[in-house]
């Protein structure tokens, strides 16, 4: 049995639901022993394990220490989802000054003990494997778990939502409906869910992190703005689901 830890940082548990879904497969349960998963297991201590799955981004000092400690106890760490990889929707608070942000909600902001940053998991510890998505695609996790149990890893394929769209026989909605879609710059994995539902991709799996540049993003945004889409909205979306990458790209090429 492969020992597994599942932990949550600042996030919504959406990705954890997909972990639960993966564990509904009996062949997976037969090979993995989950030893820490506070949401479903009555265990509150971390112990050594081979794998750790992490959901969420880091927003407190305590989480940072927790994560470092956890990292030292596992061989292989897998970051789950947009929060862990890009910071998550909560990163949008970085548009404001942390003290102001606190004040808008809490009458006693000084008691709110959080970091001024929102840190993706890989900015604090080494990440061995990443599964993107908001939430992650449970089937990708199932595939990961099955392949890992066989001694390998899924062969990484780097492409965008468009690939899945075309393979699903969905005509491009930018071309046919003039709908805004971030598919051409969003990493694949969801199975082109939104285009399948007749709406443009809003980039929840995150910007593709390979060969993307500011210029290329702008080329797409320019094209969408031609279709009368609010540029401010597009940028807010890019920040929401790709904060780490998009805010970095603002300054320089990547």
């Amino acid at each position: 049995m492969i020992r597994v830890l599942v932990a949550k940082l600042t996030s919504c548990s959406g990705c954890l639901n997909e972990v639960i879904y993966a564990l509904t497969h009996s062949d997976i349960r037969a090979k993995y022993n989950v030893t820490y998963f506070t949401e479903v297991l009555n265990v509150d201590k971390i112990s050594n394990a081979e794998l750790a799955f992490i959901e969420g981004s880091i927003t407190t000092k305590h989480q940072e220490e927790f994560l470092k400690n956890l990292r030292s106890q596992v061989e292989f760490l897998i970051a789950l989802g947009t929060c862990a990889l890009m910071g998550g929707v909560q990163s949008l608070r970085l548009e404001g000054n942390i003290e102001d942000v606190k004040k808008t909600i809490y009458p006693e902001p000084r008691y709110i003990d959080i970091l001024s940053e929102v840190k993706p998991v890989d900015s604090v510890v080494k990440v061995d494997f990443a599964i993107p998505g908001c939430p992650i695609n449970g089937d990708a996790l199932v595939s990961f778990l099955r392949k890992y149990a066989l001694g390998g890893l899924p062969v990484a394929i780097y492409e965008t939502v468009c690939s899945e769209c075309k393979r699903k026989n969905i005509p491009c909605i930018i071309v046919t409906q003039k709908s805004p879609c971030l598919g051409p710059i969003t990493i694949s994995g969801c199975g082109a869910l939104c285009p399948q539902f007749g709406r443009g991709c809003y980039g929840c799996y995150g910007l593709k992190f390979f060969d993307i540049t500011r210029e290329k993003i702008n080329a797409l945004l320019d094209r969408l703005v031609e279709l009368k889409v609010d540029e401010g909205n597009l940028k807010a979306i890019l920040l929401a689901y790709s904060f780490k990458l998009y805010s970095k790209l603002k300054e320089s090429r990547c």
């Binding site: 548990s13 349960r29 479903v40 297991l41 809490y106 959080i114 709406r199």
Partner: protein, 429 residues
């Protein structure tokens, strides 16, 4: 004295205040870090917000999205086709099924069957586990066909939905649903036979969304025991956000001090009559009827789960495919009324959103009151009531944890409104 809460969504711990060796009071310290959704949505367009708020909670995202869409539709004067509305309600009920199934089967079942965890249960009683997974998987399929995925569904927008599933997909769901009822009745037999070890007559007021004819679902009014209020009146005038002398934590209480209950038990106790007769018959066999105590939430959840599945079955059976997308593709809107508010019965209870729009139709202000936040006061009151004056810490912790599980506080969603970071308390314990 602090002990982490496990088996609860999100992160939190129980804080027990002792005085001279006796329990004085119990608190729930939420260690889940806040995400500031009320801040995040500022300056954003309503159509973005509908998808953003889904990320507040991984269990009840549809409630958030649906609610936000309803709130904006109301204040922007957007008419929603009745077929579309029904479709969204079904999607929302699918989420109720999902959330209740996860809660009852992953959290309550181990307790009921006296196993440490679900995996242990899986070893001891594979049949139960198989049934439970059947239902969870089915809810996943429902969510996928109607909403696109298990969580953060992509199919709700202001003015309607993006897509309606094909007859084939619906047909597949319909063919499977009877098997699901079978799994459910088998599980219900175990769950409904169980009696909670904690008996407590409830004397707390109960709040739910007021429903004229149906079971409690969504609307513009709430009902607290027998008093009906508009959401605005209730959340602006009736509920007090109180600050305790010994803490900076805010709690939602009515009339100054009284804590109140939201959630399946409140809904069940008030609208029991409106459940499907099949549900009532099943409950009768095991002698369950209202009022349920808060420790009998699992009964209410099973009832609601069954009831929701029955409604879904009717819908699937009468599904008339209509290309809803072509009914309304894009909605142009101008701000008509700058305050948008609404309430939805999320799986854990009343969820209330209030948005104030600026001239450019962007959000200026936002308030989100989550079920867990509303229940926190009552959780603490009940836990305290049950343990005050006790000596044994182990037992107290166990009780405090049971209370937490009974209320199923999905902490992920609560923290963004609930500053329960009770820092000073550790020193006293």
């Amino acid at each position: 004295m602090k002990s982490p809460l496990t088996l609860v969504e999100g992160e939190g711990s129980v804080v027990i205040i002792e005085r001279e060796g006796y329990v004085d009071r119990v608190f729930y310290e939420i260690t889940e870090a806040p995400r500031f959704f009320e801040y995040i949505v500022r300056g954003k367009s309503p159509e973005l917000v509908v998808d953003f708020v889904s990320r507040v909670c991984g269990l009840c995202g549809v409630s958030y999205t649906f609610l936000a869409a309803k709130a904006f539709e109301k204040c922007l004067n957007i008419e929603v086709d009745s077929d579309v509305e029904e479709f969204r309600e079904i999607l929302h009920l699918a989420e109720r099924v999902k959330s209740h199934a996860l809660h009852v089967f992953l959290m309550n079942l181990p307790e009921i069957t006296k196993t440490r965890s679900f995996s242990e249960l899986a070893e001891r009683n594979p049949k139960v586990v198989k049934n439970a997974f059947n239902i969870i998987s089915y809810s996943r399929k429902l969510m996928r066909v109607f909403g696109g995925r298990f969580h953060n569904v992509v199919n709700i927008k202001i003015g309607g939905v993006y897509f309606t599933p094909s007859r084939d997909d619906v047909e597949k769901l319909r063919n499977e649903i009877n098997g699901i009822f079978k799994s459910l009745t088998e599980l219900a037999d175990i769950i409904l036979s169980f009696k909670s070890s904690i008996h407590l007559a409830i004397s707390k007021p109960q709040l739910c969304v007021y429903a004229e004819k149906s079971y409690s679902h969504h609307g513009e009014k709430v009902v607290l025991d027998n008093a009906i209020y508009t959401t605005e009146a209730f959340y602006r005038n009736i509920v007090n956000v109180v600050q305790k002398e010994y803490s900076t934590a805010l709690q939602y209480r009515v009339k100054g001090s009284e804590s109140f209950i939201v959630g399946p038990v409140s809904r069940f106790n008030r609208y029991y009559d409106r459940l499907h007769s099949e549900v009532k018959d099943l409950l009768n066999t095991y002698n369950w009827r209202p009022p349920l105590s808060v420790f009998e939430g699992y009964i209410a959840r099973i009832a609601e789960l069954y009831d929701a599945l029955l409604t879904i079955r009717e819908y699937l059976e009468n599904y008339k495919y209509r290309d809803i997308v072509s009914v309304k593709n894009t909605v142009e809107y101008k701000s008509a009324n700058n305050v948008c508010e609404y309430a939805v019965e999320a799986p854990r209870g009343v969820l209330y959103h209030r948005y104030v729009l600026g001239k450019d139709c962007k959000i200026v202000e936002c308030d989100i009151v989550t079920p867990t936040a509303q229940n926190l006061a009552v959780m603490e009151d009940i836990a305290t009531q049950l343990t005050r004056g006790k000596r044994a810490l182990e037992e107290t912790i166990a009780i405090a944890k049971s209370v937490a599980i009974a209320f199923d506080p999905c902490i992920s969603c609560s923290v963004h409104t609930l500053p329960v970071k009770v820092i000073n308390f550790n020193k006293q314990s």
